[in-house]
Subunit: 708 residues, 2 copies
């Protein structure tokens, strides 16, 4: 794809826009009318997956057209620009023939009111005004760079360069005898969650934090909210109209916000500051971040000072979640949920509207399938979230509002945030869905390698298939998994992209670099759709708990290793075996059911599916993790320590990393209690899976006895 659209003549662009729709129209007509009258796909044997895939030709072009429209202007949540994109999504869902719903909330959002930055000499005379703009957006078409929820503040203080601002960087500064107290920290991006960078610097006494963007002129916006997702004033319930809200002085609210102001700045701005610093010399490995290889300067503090003022505009704003619902014909009270957020920091070509375009194509195809007479066995819900960028707010409020319903009915939540960031399939999942995901990729053509399936390339490249676990809280699956205990999948092409949260996240970049032929978008759409169809149509839910058990065993082994093969970790093993044998019983029951086809079979299948459906809920601890009660998943919530290596058993990870006032004995006891809590959760899951009352009342012997 050599030319870029901005250089093509207008009629050609118009044709390029119309042609895919024309193609699609043709294909749809063929699909709808090429079918013999009387046959109803889905009812009499036509595989819904085949039907779904047959609607691919030309879809890449319509996806591209959708993306162009969605990204035509900035659409930050709670701003006027958001309305047009919401309207577009709503109208495309309706055009697909789907029933739509919307739900509005009024959470606390945060915008930049005013910022200024200047470099001062040691005597406080002005050396230079520094730009707080994004070089890549000279026309200020998108919102000027800022951190959402950074508090208003001002500082005139010496600057200190903190490299990536990780714990190890701050420790290095300690060793150099450089204190952050009362100073402005200047960091390079890449040190993990930006809220964590700010919190760590604040913990060391810094008065403000500036985080540098990349050399290409992009500046990374983002939220710095702490302690979990969702509206800060309504933790655990929805920010609906008229809802009770906590006061700003409430402890649960205060601890969500950083205590010092911060802002993302351009690499140029950060470089200007750091180049002016004296003090201990820059460590060698700290130079690359700002391109300071040849530079002879230091890490600070000073002698120069930074004069930083920041005014936040913190206010409640209306956001809108949009839904399309396809009611299941046999089990309408079982939900297969697909979600993508719609709001963007700038144009959102990658993040998130590559996913939005994919969602709209899934909707288009399902609409066609419905018109041809097919209905899914279970209900499918497509969700377009708002305000994800502020902290997964649109999805979290909705999950909190519908918690009882979702916990008793949701089969799984399939998330696509950035559908395409680059090359190569990446996926995160709760383990019982691994097998399904892998199976589905065998049916999808690889977008980059001719004649191969996605499964082919996925299993041979980058060391083979490696499905991540979802302990991270960086997209809309977080409330579904960490709070509600619903199995989740998160899909994306390409590990990361340079324009993340910058003005460079535009259609042009996607067309040039991200996915010129939009075939990766196509692949994501197909994987997403096929996952949904399997979950919504399979007679028995395609969950594999043997995989879950073996993953938990891996985690346990890693943990045991970390704890120097502490005997206490082995308490978990017996319960994991129990989970495995429960999984075997499920398989046996499934086989038996193959032979029963009457009404009794329907009920027996329902009973079996209920066991499968509810097992994941058992991994929740009702009271939540200590000090972070919103997080309830004991296998896969994020650990308290943003830099922790443990991506599982968060309660145990927290107990290990927590030092504080405890004696060693107390800490060991706390770790043991968390171990036991995990063991009990696994036992609960095994019991629910097994289903039969009393069958689990076999005495379980332990080699470890815990004396009080």
């Amino acid at each position: 794809h050599a030319s870029s659209p901005s250089s093509s003549p207008r009629p050609l662009r118009l044709a390029r826009l119309l042609l895919p729709f024309g193609l699609l129209l043709l294909v749809s007509l063929l699909v709808l009318h090429g079918r013999p009258p009387g046959t109803r796909p889905g009812q009499s044997g036509t595989d819904p997956a085949a039907l779904f895939l047959s609607l691919s030709p030309g879809a890449n072009a319509s996806i591209a057209a959708d993306l162009l429209t969605l990204t035509s202007g900035p659409h930050l949540a709670g701003t006027p620009g958001a309305a047009g994109v919401a309207a577009h999504v709503l109208s495309r869902l309706r055009a697909a023939g789907l029933r739509t719903l919307t739900r509005e909330y009024a959470p606390l959002l945060s915008y930049r009111a005013h910022a200024s930055l200047a470099l001062l000499a040691a005597d406080r005379s002005l050396l230079a005004h520094l730009s707080t703009d994004e070089p890549a957006d000279p026309g200020r078409r998108v919102v000027r760079p800022y951190h959402a929820y950074a508090p208003s503040g001002a500082a005139v203080a010496e600057a200190v360069f903190v490299n990536l601002g990780r714990e190890e960087d701050l420790a290095a500064l300690d060793r150099l005898g450089v204190s952050l107290r009362g100073r402005v920290a200047v960091a390079v991006r890449g040190g993990g969650y930006r809220g964590g960078v700010v919190a760590r610097a604040a913990g060391r006494g810094a008065v403000a934090v500036l985080i540098a963007g990349r050399a290409d002129g992009g500046v990374e916006r983002g939220t710095v909210l702490l302690g979990g997702p969702g509206d800060p004033l309504t933790p655990g319930w929805a920010a609906a109209d008229g809802a009770e809200r906590l006061g700003f002085d409430h402890e649960a609210v205060r601890r969500r916000f950083p205590t010092i102001p911060s802002m993302p700045v351009s690499a140029d701005t950060a470089s200007a500051i750091v180049r002016s610093l004296g003090g201990p010399a820059l460590p060698a490995e700290w130079r690359a971040g700002l391109g300071l290889e040849g530079h002879a300067g230091g890490v600070g503090p000073g002698p120069t000072l930074v004069n930083f003022t920041y005014q936040e505009d913190r206010k409640m704003a209306t956001i809108k979640d949009i839904f399309a619902v396809i009611k299941g014909r046999e089990e309408p009270d079982r939900y297969v949920i697909l979600g993508n957020h719609r709001d963007a920091w700038t144009y959102g070509a990658v993040d998130p509207n590559s996913g939005t375009a994919a969602l709209l194509d899934v909707a288009r195809r399902l609409g066609i399938m419905l018109r041809s007479g097919w209905t899914p066995r279970r209900t499918i819900i497509l969700c377009s979230w708002d305000a994800e960028e502020f902290g997964m707010i649109g999805s979290t409020e909705w999950v909190e509002e519908n918690l009882g319903d979702l916990q008793s009915k949701a089969v799984a939540y399939l998330n696509v945030d950035c559908a395409v960031q680059g090359m190569g399939l990446f996926a995160g999942s709760t383990p019982q869905l691994d097998k399904l995901l892998i199976d589905v990729t065998r049916q999808v053509k690889d977008p980059d390698v001719e004649g191969k399936t996605v499964h082919d390339t996925w299993s041979t490249m980058n060391g083979g298939i490696n499905i991540e676990r979802l302990a991270r809280t960086d997209s809309d699956f977080a409330p579904f998994l960490h709070h509600a205990g619903i199995p989740c999948v998160d899909l994306y092409y390409g590990k990361e992209f340079p324009g993340y949260h910058t003005a460079l996240d535009s259609y042009i970049w996607m067309e040039k670099h991200g996915d010129p032929l939009f075939l990766r978008h196509l692949a994501i759409t197909e994987i997403w759709g096929l996952l949904a169809l399997r979950l919504a149509n399979d007679l028995v839910l395609p969950f594999d708990y043997h995989t879950y058990a073996s993953q938990l065993q891996e985690h346990t082994n890693v943990l045991a290793d970390r704890m120097n093969n502490s005997q206490s970790v082995s308490v978990i093993n017996g319960f994991i075996n129990d989970l495995s044998s429960a999984a075997t019983e499920v398989q046996k029951e499934e086989l038996k059911l193959l032979d029963i086809h009457d009404g009794r079979g329907l009920i027996r299948r329902r009973l079996l599916n209920d066991r499968l459906l509810l097992a994941e809920r058992s991994f929740l601890h009702a009271e939540g993790l200590q000090g972070r009660t919103w997080y309830k998943h004991l296998m896969y919530s994020p650990p308290e320590d943003y830099e922790s290596e443990l991506s599982f058993f968060p309660g145990i990870a927290d107990a290990i990393s927590r030092r504080g006032n405890q004696s060693t004995r107390q800490r060991q006891a706390a770790v043991r209690q968390e171990l036991w809590r995990v063991a009990m959760a696994i036992q609960r899951a095994a019991n629910v899976l097994r289903g039969e009352f009393g069958a689990h009342n076999k005495p379980i012997n332990f080699s470890v006895s815990m004396a009080p």
Copy 2:
């Protein structure tokens, strides 16, 4: 019933024992063989209720025989005496033809090792040794009186009479200028939960508490555990073999135990102490408790001293829960659970074995019904709990262990602790079961009034039918309702009885006073069984959420009244209306289903029943009540304050009664948040009941807006 069994000659007694069984055998044979071959009751239309009731003739006599056996010796939990009664129950369940299971736990129990009491003069010379025995048990056949979990301790201190030891009594002492600090409090029983009496006295600085028994020589044993039911070392999980246990220094453990020793003493012992007191004169209304009407003495302190030593034997002991399971033929994964505890402080004739005998009769009848070819639609589980007297331990450990399973499958829990204490039916229930309970009593003969049904007498006596709400935590329904959110019923004949937890709770008392003809036992058995059969067999679960909504409205009105018609309370009303309209939709769906009889009807019924089943869970707040996270039910958990009048909305009650360090504004905000939490729970329940996704996304307007 003029003669008592102890005076009848042996052969007559033997005949009396054998005759009922003979009668029963005859009746059973008639039932089994009088049926035409080929008809299967329950399958082809025979009403299971009619069959159940047809097995009543002679049952009162076999119930009496069972009670005699069960109460032949003391059977305190964790002691050798318990084994025989467990074996009897197990064998009777098996004899009934039911499948049985047992589950053992090893919780922390508490026994009396040593106690001594003496009255000293002001100069510490011995005035008199005081008895720590129970006058009604001169042979020391049962465990000597004590409070379970009272800590070891000793005190030589002035005594103070505290009347009932309620807050108002302690306030009266304050006004009299009498301090409890460093003194021994002597109380009369009747001041509410004995643990609360001890805690209040300890809060005022008392060093020990003695609680007087009744004039008839009975001394009331009991637990003084604080903060909720269940094993103190394993809060939230089961005290299974090998389970992790918290240390005694753990905060969650320490706060379960009272801080000062206490003991129940005879009225004589207490009287001897109080008669020796000087100080401000006894208030007139304080005299009746110990029969001190003519006495001219005071409330203390002193001049006499009490020398009290107490040695507790606190240790882990094995307890055993016993189950009988009747697997449902259509929905084996739906559980109707009946429970009664088996352990007793002494002989247990009323508490609890009147209920045990009833449970065994239910088992007998169900066994006969099974043999005649009937099976219930849903699974019925009969439970015989252990260690209830120590703090609902056997039931709580089991519920904690099976929480996931129970929350997804349990239809209802039907509790009978003391089946018969005296005259008149009393019942507590979650409101959706009220209607069913009332209906069932129309089918049961009144045990005391010829020609009337229980419903007849229940609705005309004592001001009419008054079903209590279950905020109290005094029997085994507590973990099911307060922790797991399962609908519950609690049944008993007679409000209370004099021999409670004393050696007077014997078969002789029951035969003489409690239920001479055992017809009240019969009535309880019938009500219990019919409830179970309706819940296990009705096509659609017989839950009525209109009643729930109207009860919640009553509670809200009472609360509004108490809060001087605060406008903020009205926020709940809209959600209650929502619950009501959801209940209406359920009724409509139920009507529609009457016309559908195929496999699709089966599934649709299942879907509707799932909505009904799960609605109660919505009333739980996952994180639990503040400071008492084990309690999760927002409508019906006990309030923190043992003396609170509010028997609903415990979170709101707690926020109102909590003073502490808060400003008025903070307290108002806390109350408002609890109001909102209740409102949200009701909304969740309405959503779950309504079932259809998106239908609830109607905007709800409030007249109250809550500014942050």
